[in-house]
């Protein structure tokens, strides 16, 4: 009986002690919340380590950085629904625009940071198995019968949308500007897709861990990272044309004003352009926005690709997102999700 009572008492005390130590932000160390997309897990782990050290040296304040990762479409909705993001680091402008439209980010955010708020860029390549058994050379091979393509779900993943647009751009170029042909082409690629993961990392896992599929349409950094971890089991195939994926970063004004973290948030995003950070990007296989900070040797790892820009081909994200990816858009027409 006494045993029971003392057990309950101990549990209660432990609980209150924990409640104390885990009271969010206001009571103890400030936590900066960075909502990012799926493949950037290793990247922001490295960067956060650097930034926490930098901030401590500069101001003496100890802070914590909490990163959240997932398909960027899903992350956008989470932020809109109240995920307490201080900064967002998204793979495309459309994601940040969606949050701006809900009033959480003030207009004009793009000019707040260098390079139109693109600390780095990336692009889309193909990852195939050792020896390229299916002979994948370019986008048109992905539409061939019998090829299994792995790519994430454009409704939830930013990388998936870049994949889609890159394929569209390829056919547009090849057919001389025929939008209908491009749509049919992209549809035929998606007919070969068996699994739509929610995020780019999920697709990479499906391809690499679960060994499903013949070709992965991947972020360049994911592909290079796979090569680094799994060596000769995989090969990168560079398509004839790909799309320049400009990532965008922004402060979530409404949240930082409420939490009082604007200064830290601004520093967090400013430091993305520092030499150390740019080196971190290159190490993680992202193309640095300020390549002058990086050793030219490191830049050699990036394959040469002919890149098109979304603004030129699609009229920017403000047009591309509703046309292709919103409910009832072109993607919904070509891929029946039920």
């Amino acid at each position: 009986m006494r045993l029971l009572a003392s057990a309950i008492a101990i549990a209660a005390m432990t609980a209150s002690a924990h409640l104390g130590s885990l009271t969010p932000a206001s009571a103890q160390t400030t936590t900066l919340v960075n909502v990012s997309y799926d493949p950037t897990r290793e990247l922001y782990r490295d960067y956060a380590q650097y930034f926490v050290k930098h901030w401590k040296e500069k101001t003496g304040q100890t802070i914590e950085v909490s990163n959240s990762h997932g398909g960027s479409g899903a992350q956008v909705r989470s932020v809109i629904e109240g995920l307490p993001a201080d900064v967002v680091t998204f793979p495309l402008e459309g994601d940040v625009l969606a949050i701006e439209q809900k009033g959480l980010i003030e207009p004009g955010w793009k000019k707040e940071f260098p390079e139109d708020s693109s600390p780095y860029t990336s692009t889309i390549v193909f990852l195939v198995r050792k020896g390229n058994p299916k002979g994948i050379k370019d986008w048109n091979d992905l539409a061939k019968r019998g090829i299994q393509v792995i790519t994430p779900n454009p409704k939830t993943s930013g990388g998936a949308r870049w994949n889609y647009l890159a394929a569209w751009a390829y056919e547009l170029d090849r057919s001389g500007g025929d939008q209908k042909k491009a749509q049919d082409f992209v549809a035929s690629i998606y007919r070969n897709v068996r699994v739509l993961d929610t995020g780019a990392r999920g697709s990479t896992n499906t391809f690499v861990q679960n060994k499903v599929g013949d070709v992965l349409i991947a972020w360049e950094n994911e592909a290079l990272l796979t090569l680094k971890e799994f060596g000769s089991d995989y090969e990168i195939v560079v398509p004839s044309v790909s799309i320049l994926a400009e990532v965008k970063v922004a402060i979530v004004d409404k949240n930082v004003d409420k939490k009082g973290t604007r200064e830290i948030a601004k520093a967090f995003l400013d430091q993305l352009y520092s030499p150390e950070a740019q080196k971190i990007f290159a190490r993680n296989f992202y193309r640095p926005g300020k390549p002058e900070h990086v050793d030219p040797e490191a830049l050699k790892a990036f394959p040469k690709v002919k890149l098109v820009k979304i603004d030129d081909v699609f009229g920017g994200w403000a047009k591309a997102q509703p046309t292709h990816f919103d409910n009832g858009g072109i993607f919904d027409k070509i891929y029946s999700k039920d």
């Binding site: 398909g71 479409g73 929610t198 499903v212």
Partner: protein, 278 residues
């Protein structure tokens, strides 16, 4: 009891405990579940029909309920066997085995999930033995089945064990003296009173398997229309923020599970009357 709500009793505290129980139940369970069904009604009828007749939902339904059924049936067979062995025989490490039976109760589902995957991928201990034979388990429905067998194993064992322990051996001896062979005795004398318990265990294992998420998603492969379980489809719709669709799938899943459990309950009551107890 006539028209009274409850029997008279001198023990105090009914209002307090009853009130608190109902309150807790309502807030934690009833209201949220009712909310789920209400959310389903936000869907237009056509969309609802499109979802529940779509090939992806049908395939997930078949996989979830089918694999759960097969796993629960398998658990009945090995569960009865294990219960019998634990109750009737004495052997080295019997106590240890008895304790291990409860492992799926105590082990977190995610831990079970990654452990089973590690075992059955082509590089794993079991995968290595099976892949020369051309058998793949991980990322196939067989892998799903194995995970469901794991988590359902204790249910049948633990419901049958007490009944077996309480079983009156004299009846067996009586049957033997009347000339029954051992096999006849077991099948016609010992087994029937176990049936209600077996049904309970089956129902519990089945219900648990249908809803299982953590143990299965690592080993399943999660390919839509092939190895995608129903809970994962719900998560997928959730991540797309298609709340109404997620709610619809969840509501259908819940309703089917409730109906099946009700049927098993009725079956149980019938079997209890029919086979009685000894």
């Amino acid at each position: 009891m006539g028209l009274r709500f409850r029997e008279a009793s001198i023990v105090p505290g009914f209002r307090l405990t009853f009130g608190f129980t109902i309150f807790y139940l309502s807030v934690i369970v009833l209201i949220p579940i009712i909310g789920l069904y209400i959310k389903t009604f936000e869907l237009e009828w056509e969309r609802f029909i499109a979802i529940i007749t779509g090939p992806r939902f049908m395939a997930a339904l078949q996989l979830s309920f089918g694999a759960s059924l097969l796993a629960a049936l398998f658990n009945v067979v090995i569960g009865v066997m294990i219960a019998w062995v634990l109750v009737r025989y004495r052997f080295f490490a019997r106590r240890l085995l008895d304790a291990i039976v409860d492992l799926p109760f105590a082990l977190p589902t995610a831990v079970a999930g990654i452990a089973l995957t590690a075992l059955y991928v082509p590089e794993g201990w079991f995968g290595k033995l099976l892949s020369p034979l051309g058998v793949t388990i991980a990322y196939t429905p067989v892998g799903v089945w194995i995970a469901l067998v794991f988590i359902g194993l204790p249910f049948v064992v633990r419901t049958v064990q007490p009944v077996l322990e309480d079983f009156n051996r004299e009846v067996e001896e009586a049957a033997a003296t009347l000339g029954a062979s051992r096999r006849t005795t077991i099948v016609r004398v010992v087994l029937p009173p176990l049936i209600p318990a077996i049904l309970t265990g089956f129902a519990l294992a089945f219900a648990r398997a249908v809803g299982e998420y953590g143990s299965v998603i690592f080993i399943a492969g999660n390919i839509p229309r092939q190895t995608e379980i129903l809970p994962l489809l719900i998560v997928f719709r959730l991540e797309e923020r298609d709340y109404a669709a997620a709610a619809a799938i969840a509501a259908v899943m819940l309703t089917i599970a409730f109906v099946i459990l009700l049927l098993i309950n009725l079956l149980q009551v019938w079997s209890y009357r029919r086979f009685g107890n000894v």
